[in-house]
Amino acid sequence: MPEERALTNDSAGRLRRRHIISYLFHIICNLSTWVGVVTLVVMLTGVVIRAQGSLDWAFLTSFDSSDPKRTGIFAGLWGCFWLMLLTSSFAIPIGIAAAVYLEEYARKGFLTRVIQLNISNLAGVPSIVYGILGLTIFVRYLGIGTGILSASLTMAILILPIIIIASQEALRSVPQSVRHASLALGATKWQTIWYQVLPASIPGIMTGVILALSRAIGESAPLIVVGAAIYISQTPGNIENVGQIFTEPSKLAKVPSSGFTSLPLQIYNYAALQAKSSFRNEAAAAIVVLLVVLMIMNGIAIYIRYHFQKKLKW
């Protein structure tokens, strides 16, 4: 009897130990999930605190200055605006078209596999390599110059794989029955895609596009390589308010070739290049502006995703 009892005690102890280990493991995994999130939230709070003194209207509407009190991100904001406008006008149509080809037209075969594999590989190429590509092709070989146009083309190539992959997923989620119904009614392949498949997949595509653009807004390494200005005191084409876009078309024509800077570049300048630590608060202020822009874009993407997902139930 005592022997048997010892045995049960032992196994009960082992069982308890195993449950304790399992419990500890649960806690460790839980903590690991939060550790990155919490660290970043703490540091970003620090950024916001640092930004407080510098972030005001004058900061948003002034050009770069060697005096931290008078410097501002006006040129960077306009640079970002034009960069995004041109980048998206190149990348969005081409990206969606490529996705439509791969999902709707391509037959399974060697070429399609190569293109598909290639796109996922391009998504993993470091952004600085795209910078080298842009510098060589657009600035040197084609001689477009170091203005916004070269930078936007480079950025467009950079985000193309992201847009293609997101759009493919969106197209894939449209059920085959929609296509079959349209084709059965006599629509051609393109009519089916244009009037049925694309409208149904627009929410998914838009989400992907916005996320890709928010990646592009924060990107700075390729811009430096392509030759964007770090320190500049004029906006692209000297357009300084929205009205001028419509009233002075001659300025508009100068935009693609004009030098520019962007918000992340100004942050880099304030954080790392300017005289030791005197611009740190300005860097924090610029970061807050950049993060607010990104949060708005992400918010729109999340809104679109949830809003339309509810409506579209196949």
Partner: protein
């Protein structure tokens, strides 16, 4: 009536059909652009660093490849002959190593938590949060390293153990890059963990295994190849990381094993060299392409391996 109908059906040429063909060609060209991009990248990197033209010899036509790979001094501004990439390479590898030590275990643990433990509701909150963290621009991470990690974490730590911590240092760069790629490891690994069939988990639990046993002895081993692939992708991302390491680790090339010193990574060098006024065709200018080629090869190989492993993995369970 019937005859005209037949005729219209048999019509071999119509505007509609031509349009469909044109659209097909156009769409194909758009898809083919990605292939052109890849070939252009490979072409320009090879041309400027290996092949060269008649007027301007390429980088490796002036600089011995072996000396380049084993040289310990990086000084391309003094001309070809004794340029060695080891200082840049070691800095890149050290920062990638530090970031891997931080992000791989944390990322995997959080993937296990998300797929095995968390309720769907909590997961619905955590996932978007991790996505947002993954979307923070890398300059911001660089700033965090310079302004928070180095002075408030590493400096006190260094004083405690009696090591001088530089304003720019590899450790802070590694830490922020690690934080940066946690979401990536976590979301990729979670995908592969969730692909493991539920039946395997249920069988384990039915035999009396605890959650820990199921996670560590069934789910993770079953998804091991996929997890490794996600690790490789994360490492390749860390290798190519640019702005965070440029800001945090500085731009002075130095061959050193001390992570508390400033050093220049390969990516930081490309940024620094393209900012400077090096004349086209000079060795310093061409060294951008040589370093770019090295970086491209390293990340490309890692990406190819992980793509291959992931696609094999998907075949097994789907």
């Amino acid at each position: 009536m019937t005859t005209t109908n037949n005729q219209s059906l048999n019509k071999s040429f119509s505007f509609q059909r031509l349009k469909e063909q044109a659209i097909f060609v156009l769409l194909f060209l758009c898809a083919f652009i990605s292939v052109i991009v890849t070939f252009s990248i490979i072409y320009i990197l090879l041309k400027e660093s290996v092949l060269g033209t008649k007027d301007s010899p390429a980088f490796f036509q002036q600089q011995n490849v072996w000396d380049f790979l084993t040289g310990t001094k990086w000084a391309p501004q003094y001309g070809a002959g004794n340029i060695g990439i080891l200082p840049l390479l070691s800095a890149t590898l050290m920062i990638t190593g530090i970031s891997a030590v931080i992000s791989l275990p944390l990322g995997l643990a959080s993937a296990v938590y998300l797929s095995e433990y968390s309720s769907p509701r909590l997961r619905g909150i955590l996932k978007p949060m991790l996505e947002i963290l993954a979307g923070i621009p890398t300059v911001v991470y660089g700033y965090l390293a310079l302004v928070f990690v180095t002075p408030y974490v590493l400096k006190p730590l260094g004083e405690m153990i009696g090591i001088n911590v530089g304003v720019f240092n590899a450790a802070s760069a590694g830490i922020v890059v690690g934080l940066m790629i946690i979401p990536m490891v976590s979301s990729l690994s979670e995908d592969v963990l969730r692909a493991v069939p539920k039946g395997l988990r249920e069988a384990g639990l039915a035999l009396g295994a605890t959650r820990f046993d199921v996670s560590s002895k069934i789910v993770v081993p079953a998804a091991l190849s996929g997890i490794l692939a996600s690790f490789l992708l994360a490492i390749s991302r860390a290798l190519g990381e640019t702005m965070a390491v440029t800001i945090a680790a500085g731009v002075i090339p130095k061959l050193s094993a001390n992570p508390f010193e400033g050093m220049e990574t390969m990516t930081a060098y490309i940024v620094e060299a393209s900012k400077s006024d090096a004349t086209r065709g000079s060795v310093e200018y061409q060294s951008i392409y040589a370093v770019g080629l090295m970086l491209f090869i390293m990340t490309f190989v890692l990406n190819i391996i992980s793509q291959y492993v992931l696609s094999r993995f998907r075949e097994v369970y789907n």
